[in-house]
């Protein structure tokens, strides 16, 4: 099952890269008008370019190694993720912010005191959703040019008419996906007990 480990490694590194850059950037864009004005048009534009269409370009630039796959996953998730995080941060209730001002919070510390804690659950949800998309792009990347991974395995099985292998491949992806989803949900409840099961506080 080296295909599974190869796939998981790719999807994780591509997604982590997107999250590590996207979350702080999104939070920044959501809380500072200048950052939003600067990055939003740019991200909003690229977001509509399908990541799969970039695969030929990535292959030419990055070859067919790991970096190409990670690039596809990154490209497929980063822009959406950043904009979604931005929306979460922007939607922090103005009333909570106003209240904190009347309790002595300064304009500078309102970010740490209010905006960040208030947006954390939303950010977590965004990560959970975009991780699902990362899987989709992984398979796309592996179908095109790869020598390992679940996508590759599915393609190979097609070549040899092994229908059952294809179905197994798809199921495995589904099972891994649901495990990760549950993991996110479990983490969410552990970290944000104040949110309750339904979501909205």
């Amino acid at each position: 099952m080296k295909d599974i480990t190869a796939s998981v490694a790719r999807v994780t590194s591509g997604f982590l890269l997107a999250a590590v850059i996207g979350v702080p950037l999104g939070v920044l864009m959501g809380s500072l008008k200048i950052c939003e004005a600067f990055f939003e048009p740019f991200l909003g534009f690229i977001r509509y370019m399908p990541a799969s269409a970039f695969i030929p370009l990535f292959i030419l630039w990055l070859g067919i190694g790991e970096s190409e796959k990670v690039a596809v996953i990154f490209f497929g998730t980063f822009f959406q993720l950043t904009l979604m995080v931005m929306d979460v941060t922007k939607n922090v209730s103005q009333e909570l912010i106003d209240t904190s001002y009347t309790l002595g919070v300064s304009k500078r510390s309102v970010f740490w005191r209010i905006i960040l804690p208030a947006s954390m659950p939303g950010i977590m949800d965004t990560l959970r959703i975009t991780f699902g998309w990362a899987w989709t792009y992984l398979v796309v990347a592996e179908i095109v040019a790869a020598s390992s991974g679940l996508g590759y395995m599915i393609m190979q099985s097609q070549r040899f008419l092994k229908t059952s292998h294809i179905i197994v491949g798809i199921l495995v992806i589904g099972v891994i996906g649901i495990i990760i989803d549950l993991l996110f949900k479990w983490l969410y409840q552990r970290l944000y007990p104040w949110m309750g099961k339904g979501g909205a506080a």
């Binding site: 309790l103 002595g104 804690p117």
Partner: protein, 264 residues
């Protein structure tokens, strides 16, 4: 009595795309130390705007607000505020919410604990210290919000229709609770409401506002015993004041109802 808070000739004009709306026009009044003032007006008369300007959340278009003789320009913990909407920080427990202001000010944990203990007792929420706001009813949330504002020991407490979202029974319980808390601290309070009975029951002084653009239409001193009890709401004195205020406000409410079109 000493003047604690003075609003001097304050106006507020909101500019929208193709219209300007004068929410408040040339309003002046002063509030004495330890006075409990209620501001009563029809909806949209700018009564909340006054509070937001005093809190420093909104800038006055002209005029100024003085607290202890000093002009105020931005929000500060010397002016605590309780909003109509539930504004407890959902990620903090009841006790953390109450201690929030003290924590921001960098006060020691034991100071915070003392304040929490004191106010939990006051608002009757023993046993709920560790609960998160989503577990609380509307009335409980507002009690915690009041405790949170008071724990910060502000000079003035601003209350923007804090009981507006509560049902009638809970509301009258909250009024008595607020009065009993006030009885001990004697904070200077500005309390905005559109409920005539509420304004008469809890206030020492009532300012009645006109329909938009809001101005002070009348100042009424409530000459009821300082210690208010629930049965007073049926006394002749109470009803006389209530009738007087009702007549003043009725006129304005009609104006407000007929003037829903934005002015130019």
């Amino acid at each position: 009595m000493e003047q604690k808070l003075c609003i001097e000739d304050v106006s507020k004009v909101f500019r929208e795309k193709n219209a300007t709306v004068t929410a408040l026009s040339n309003t002046s009044f002063c509030v004495a130390e330890s006075e409990f003032v209620t501001i009563l007006g029809p909806s949209g008369c700018g009564k909340s705007t006054i509070l937001r300007i005093i809190a420093g959340l909104e800038e006055a278009s002209s005029g100024r607000v003085l607290l202890d003789g000093k002009e105020i320009r931005q929000p500060g913990k010397d002016r605590g505020m309780v909003f109509q909407a539930y504004t407890l920080f959902p990620w903090l427990s009841v006790e953390e919410n109450i201690a929030f202001g003290l924590d921001v000010a960098g006060r020691s944990k034991s100071d915070q604990q003392d304040a929490v203990k004191f106010y939990i007792e006051k608002i009757g929420l023993k046993g709920f210290e560790k609960a998160y706001p989503r577990k609380l009813s509307g009335g409980m949330k507002q009690r915690v919000a009041i405790a949170r504002a008071l724990a910060n020991d502000p000079e003035v407490l601003l209350m923007d229709e804090p009981f507006g979202a509560l049902d009638a029974q809970t509301r009258s319980v909250m009024q008595e609770l607020l009065l009993s808390v006030w009885d001990e601290s004697h904070k200077t309070i500005l309390f905005v409401t559109h409920d005539v009975e509420e304004a008469v029951f809890i206030g020492d002084t009532i300012y009645v506002m006109t329909a938009r653009p809001g101005r002070i239409k009348a100042r009424i001193e409530v000459k009821l015993p300082a210690k208010r009890t629930y049965d007073m709401k049926l006394s002749d004195e109470f009803l006389t004041i209530k009738r007087e205020v009702l007549e003043l406000i009725r006129e304005e409410a009609w104006k407000a109802a007929n003037a829903n079109l934005p002015e130019e």
